[in-house]
């Protein structure tokens, strides 16, 4: 199958930077403060890496903010609805920043938004950790084909795809390069 790069390394950096600033703006509008009461929860594996990148951009814009104060990760394996039909998935750690999530604005971060089932599971998982003031969703790529009424608040790029295509997000923390590839 032929592979086609749809986002280059620079494209990804620009998208991350834009999402970070949009999050700050939206949070200012909501809470009168850029990074106050803000929590970024990455969904493993690449959502966690993207959340880290977003947090770094925010920290640059707001010098009194440290990335680790904002950052967490949310493993949703145990909340999936396809348990019996898929191979056992390894469970990874969930980390909530020390400020907790109660009354915070939580931004879930994932690489690709597709059916919406992962985000549905993430919302369920979030329930068990506390009661945020609001939950937002940031994704690098929205490829359509939603199966649930879920929509992203911050999108790096909308990519119309066919159902058979595979979107492969590569980040240099885990892969050889930064790129989004369609196969």
């Amino acid at each position: 199958m032929s592979a086609r790069t749809v986002l280059s390394s620079d494209d990804i950096d620009r998208a991350v930077t834009r999402i970070a600033h949009e999050i700050l703006e939206a949070n200012t509008a909501l809470q009168k403060s850029g990074a106050k009461n803000l929590v970024l929860l990455g969904i493993p594996t690449r959502g966690v890496l993207l959340a880290e990148r977003i947090a770094k951009v925010i920290a640059r814009a707001e010098p009194d903010v440290k990335p680790e104060d904002l950052l967490g990760r949310l493993d949703i394996t145990m909340y999936r609805d396809d348990l019996a039909s898929n191979p056992t998935r390894p469970v990874t750690q969930t980390l909530i920043p020390s400020q907790g999530i109660d009354d915070k604005v939580v931004v879930l971060v994932d690489d690709v938004l597709f059916s919406g089932r992962t985000i549905r599971a993430a919302l369920d998982a979030l329930n068990d950790f506390g009661r945020p003031r609001a939950v937002k969703l940031a994704v690098l790529v929205d490829r359509g084909h939603r199966e649930l009424p879920i929509r992203a608040d911050f999108v790096g790029k909308n990519l119309p795809t066919s159902r058979e295509e595979r979107i492969n997000v590569q980040l240099n923390e885990t892969d050889d390069q930064n790129a989004v590839v369609i196969e």
């Binding site: 348990l83 019996a84 750690q93 329930n127 950790f129």
Partner: protein, 319 residues
């Protein structure tokens, strides 16, 4: 993963490490305020106990409930063909009810195997102790406890390579010892059995463990990282396996003196319930070296991990 967990020997090194790693995730759940996952929602798990064991039953029950399974406790004590309900009838009843998994504790060795290989029941079978044969979830929680003490936060992905484990007591009748020697050797640990000759099998050549009669000598020469004391069952005490309980405690019991002979990092384990003053003295049981309560806590995480592993994933391989 396979469909059933009957023997600790069924697990490959990779599978065993995977269960331990999943249990790490589960232990985080057990530390948070809402200790519940929706994972097994709509699944029915039956705890089928032909033998009293409140501790094991409660541990499984908590694990099942934290995974949101529907839990049915079926106590069929004293049951056998001669005394009313047979294993077969019980199993077929559970099948008719629609059990997705059966956790079985039985006084007969091999009862879990018989249940799994009969066509009486389709669900997953988890061996929660069969006679004097095996108790695989106990071995897993023991391995988990050792790994956590040795590797701490670096535990995930690790095995127990090079760890020296001494298991002391009634090896002959111990399902804990049998499961542990299988699992620990799979994970790369070196297992030593210490017991009076009457409480070792007449032919232990199939065991993946070195045999010792003398506890002090073993402690001195092997310098184990882990000492696991086995419970001495009351019914052994008057069957000429050893002269008196006092003599047993003196020669094979763990006490403050032997605790002092251990290296600083070594831990002392016990599957519980303890006979204080017999196989283990109070000083040892209450020392920071003792992992008895951690084992209980870890038992829940391990059983959650086992239930998750067996009830998720592709079935085609083992159906």
């Amino acid at each position: 993963m396979t469909k059933h967990l009957l023997s600790a020997g069924d697990l490959s090194r990779e599978q065993a490490i995977e269960i331990l790693d999943i249990a790490e995730g589960m232990s985080n759940v057990n530390d948070r305020e809402i200790k519940k996952l929706p994972t097994l929602r709509g699944k029915t798990v039956v705890n089928l106990f032909f033998e009293d064991s409140t501790r094991t039953r409660i541990s499984f029950e908590v694990a099942e409930k934290r995974l949101s399974a529907d839990v049915i406790n079926f106590s069929a004590k004293g049951s056998s063909v001669s005394k009313g309900e047979s294993l077969k009838d019980t199993a077929q009843t559970l099948e008719a009810i629609g059990a997705d998994a059966v956790v079985i504790r039985h006084s007969a060795s091999g009862a879990a195997n018989v249940l799994a290989h009969s066509n009486w029941i389709q669900g997953s079978i988890i061996n929660a102790g069969d006679g004097t044969h095996e108790h695989p979830t106990q071995a897993l929680l023991d391995a988990f406890t050792m790994r956590k003490r040795i590797h701490g936060a670096q535990s995930p992905g690790k095995a127990l390579d090079g760890v020296k484990v001494a298991i002391v007591g009634d090896i002959l009748h111990s399902r804990v010892a049998r499961s542990n020697q299988l699992l620990l050797s799979t994970l790369g640990a070196e297992v030593h059995f210490v017991a009076p000759p009457t409480l070792l099998p007449q032919n232990a050549s199939g065991f993946k463990a070195a045999l010792h009669y003398n506890l002090d000598e073993m402690l001195a020469t092997e310098k184990p990282d882990v000492v696991m004391m086995l419970r001495l069952q009351a019914e052994r005490m008057n069957a000429s396996y050893f002269p008196t309980e006092r003599e047993y405690a003196r020669i094979w019991g763990f006490n403050a003196g032997r605790l002092g002979a251990l290296k600083d990092s070594a831990i002392v384990m016990h599957p519980g319930p303890m006979n204080r003053g017999l196989e283990i003295d109070a000083v040892t049981a209450d020392s920071p070296r003792s992992t008895v309560l951690e084992q209980v806590t870890n038992g829940v995480s391990i059983r959650m991990a086992v239930l998750y592993s067996l009830l998720s994933g592709e079935r085609s391989a083992d159906v």
